[in-house]
């Protein structure tokens, strides 16, 4: 069995061929909001969208939001998601005070970072493989408005982008760079870098400063991509044109621009079914993190993408802060790049396989919540604390009843070279390990 929230993982983490999938979105009650303590207790199937619509008018905001609101709290914990404030505030899991886990071996458990650190951190980022998360109490930020004050800058190349982010992100809560992965030569790595802070009352025009208007969270309901949009609209040329436009329309430099929080954090939520423009074969995401000092690898990977003319729309670069104690949590200090890649591109499998090698060689790792094709033999090198995680998981689920397609595809999640289902005496994949 595996739990499933809103199904926004890009890979197979919430799929379970031949087994059961527990759809958790029925557990959708917000049980308690403590305005004094700035915490909320919610059932695991509550979406961040619903939570924000409830919390913003109360002057509260979830401490971490990923690029879409259409994820559940349970999914956000299982994938230990991060947002544009990772360099400051860490991951979603770092703001969970306690959670209730239904584990196959021990039944319902209340997990806290202090009381049950091993189980708590194995479940945080544990990809749903320690049991079903039923509910959680999370920390919230206090906000004065539902707006973000944005400073942005257009950069001419990769070096400028990276040095700008390294220099300035410590003075902002939120930071991110949108890289144009089709720009070549001297423009390689040209970006729009955005820094943001929750806007204060006085940042708003006087007419909008009343509590009622300032704490408004009314994102447009997503409009479906119109049916006349041809499927497979994206190709090298349309993406190049889009990226060019996106880059050109951004001002060279803008300060103190105030935008609704939803448009800063969740640009994709505006169009339901946006993924359809990638055509029948769809697209995949490739997100990796490289430690500080591996900037040369980052540059080489972007150069390769450019050389392959591998259309990527919305490549996102960000600096991570310190990791949390979760053994399978993705973020670690350094640079992370997230790429959308259309599957029509013929050499994609081979290209990503060589990128895996470079990421591993540089001491980096890929993000399991977005993965759908990692070379299985690299998992344990990328996540050296995997054995420690397996030990805790084996206590919570000794029979490995929690299973997913992700676990089948990456057998090291089940057990190193001696998976329980494997016949004795034959290692799972010979010399590959």
């Amino acid at each position: 069995m595996i739990g499933r929230g809103l199904g926004r993982s890009y890979g197979d983490a919430a799929q379970n061929a031949g087994g059961d999938v527990a759809v958790m979105t029925g557990l959708d009650r917000i049980l308690d909001v403590d305005v004094e303590a700035a915490t909320a207790t919610v059932e695991a199937g509550v979406s961040l969208d619903r939570l924000m619509r409830t919390l913003v008018p109360m002057g509260l905001w979830p401490a971490v939001t990923p690029g879409t609101r259409q994820v559940t709290v349970g999914g956000a914990i299982g994938s230990d998601v991060h947002g544009k404030n990772h360099h400051r505030d860490g991951t979603f899991g770092s703001h969970v005070r306690s959670m209730e886990l239904v584990s196959p071996a021990a039944g319902p458990l209340t997990l806290t970072p202090d009381g049950t650190p091993e189980e708590f951190w194995a479940t945080t980022g544990g990809m749903g493989l320690t049991g079903l998360i039923r509910q959680a109490t999370i920390d919230l930020f206090r906000i004065e408005t539902g707006f973000i004050r944005v400073d942005s800058e257009r950069t001419a190349d990769l070096d400028t982008t990276m040095s700008l982010m390294a220099e300035r992100d410590s003075s902002y809560r939120y930071s991110v760079a949108w890289i144009d992965c089709l720009a070549r030569g001297g423009s390689l790595g040209r970006s729009i870098v955005e820094f943001g802070e929750h806007a204060r009352r006085q940042d708003l025009p006087p007419a909008k400063r009343s509590a009622d208007r300032a704490l408004r969270f009314t994102p447009l309901d997503s409009v479906p991509a119109p049916p006349w949009v041809p499927s497979g609209l994206l190709n090298r040329w349309t993406v190049a044109a889009f990226n060019e436009l996106w880059y050109r329309k951004a001002p060279k430099r803008a300060e103190g621009h105030v935008v609704p929080a939803a448009s800063f954090f969740h640009p994709l939520d505006l169009v339901a079914g946006w993924n359809r423009i990638y055509g029948d074969r769809g697209f995949l995401q490739y997100q990796f993190v490289l430690p500080d000092g591996a900037e040369a690898t980052l540059r080489r990977i972007i150069e390769e993408l450019v050389a392959h003319r591998c259309a990527s729309f919305l490549a996102v670069l960000k600096r991570f802060g310190p990791s949390n104690p979760a053994p399978l949590s993705f973020p670690r200090p350094g640079w992370t790049l997230a790429l959308d890649l259309p599957v029509t591109f013929g050499e994609l499998a081979g290209l990503l396989d060589t990128m895996d090698e470079q990421v591993v060689a540089a001491g980096g790792r890929i993000y399991l919540a977005k993965d759908s094709r990692l070379r299985p033999e690299f998992l344990e090198t990328m996540y050296p604390r995997l054995p420690e995680w397996r030990e805790v998981r084996d206590r919570l689920d000794p029979e490995h009843r929690m299973r997913s397609d992700l676990l089948r595809r990456l057998p090291a999640l089940a057990g190193g070279s001696s998976a329980p289902s494997a016949p004795s005496g034959s290692s799972a994949s010979g010399e590959a390990r």
Binding site: N16, A17, G18, G19, R373, P376, P423, S426, A432
Partner: protein, 254 residues
């Protein structure tokens, strides 16, 4: 488990010394050093095939006794293959088959029955057993090596051709029965392929190599096709052949 780009981790080859089957296994196994289980009768032939696969980049290679005509054993063979694989099986390739000798077999003896039993009865039995296994897994692909010879049966090789016609029809129906189960069927219809089986025969036009058949199969699996012809233009050729008048068709030589 197959990944998002169609790369697989375990392959079961029924007909463990089939040249086309081995070429398919080799191309499927290479990118992820996949586990391959070879199932067949010729154990020494399979041992050398296993060596070849390992050299070509396969990971672990296991061999298993399997006789297409011993239909009572097929369910057990599948279970054993799954056990040896140690993981779900991503692709099962049904590659066993006999060409027979049309002239001799027409004249008498048990040759014709052996061809029919192996190519049709054996494929029905093993195909069902494999489908049961994959259905229980909830995912997987079944590759059936059919032949253009079954598309319209010819005077020159109607014993072999009719066995492939039956086999091809069986897998078409099986594919439909598996819709919605997560299991896919790919029927591969090669023309003349240069292998041991066809050695010494006069080569037909548009002949292919085992590697070409394998490449088309791997591509078909990736793109989710239900039928591939090798080479692809044979599909058009047979669209015409199907409608040739009988007196003309019967004169088409080997």
């Amino acid at each position: 488990m197959r990944d998002a780009l169609g790369t697989v981790q375990t392959v079961l080859l029924l007909g463990g010394t089939s040249e086309i089957g081995l070429a398919i296994a080799e191309q499927l196994a290479r990118p992820r050093a996949a586990t391959v289980v070879l199932a067949g009768r010729d154990s020494s032939g399979m041992d050398s095939a296993a060596d070849r696969l390992r050299q070509a980049g396969a990971g672990r290679v296991e061999t298993l006794a399997f006789d297409a005509t011993d239909t009572a054993s097929h369910e057990d063979t599948m279970a054993e293959a799954a056990r040896r694989a140690g993981a779900d099986i991503d692709v099962v390739v049904v590659a066993f088959g006999l060409l027979g000798n049309q002239e001799l077999d027409e004249a008498g003896g048990d040759g014709a029955v052996r061809v029919a039993t192996t190519n049709y009865v054996g494929a029905v039995s093993a195909g069902l057993a494999a489908a049961h296994l994959l259905k229980a897994q909830g995912h997987g692909a079944l590759v059936a090596l059919s032949s253009v010879a079954g598309e319209r049966v010819r005077r020159a090789n109607f014993i072999y051709g009719s066995s492939k016609a039956g086999m091809d029809g069986f897998f078409q129906g099986l594919a439909d029965s598996l819709a919605g189960t997560g299991v896919r069927v790919l029927i591969v219809r090669p023309g003349f392929v240069r292998t041991r089986m066809t050695e010494g025969m006069t080569e037909a036009p548009m002949a292919a190599t085992a590697e070409q058949v394998a490449a088309a199969t791997v591509q078909g699996l990736r793109s989710g096709r239900s039928v591939v012809w090798v080479p692809a233009p044979l599909r058009l050729v047979f669209a015409v052949f199907r409608h040739l008048p009988r007196p003309v068709w019967r004169r088409i030589p080997a």
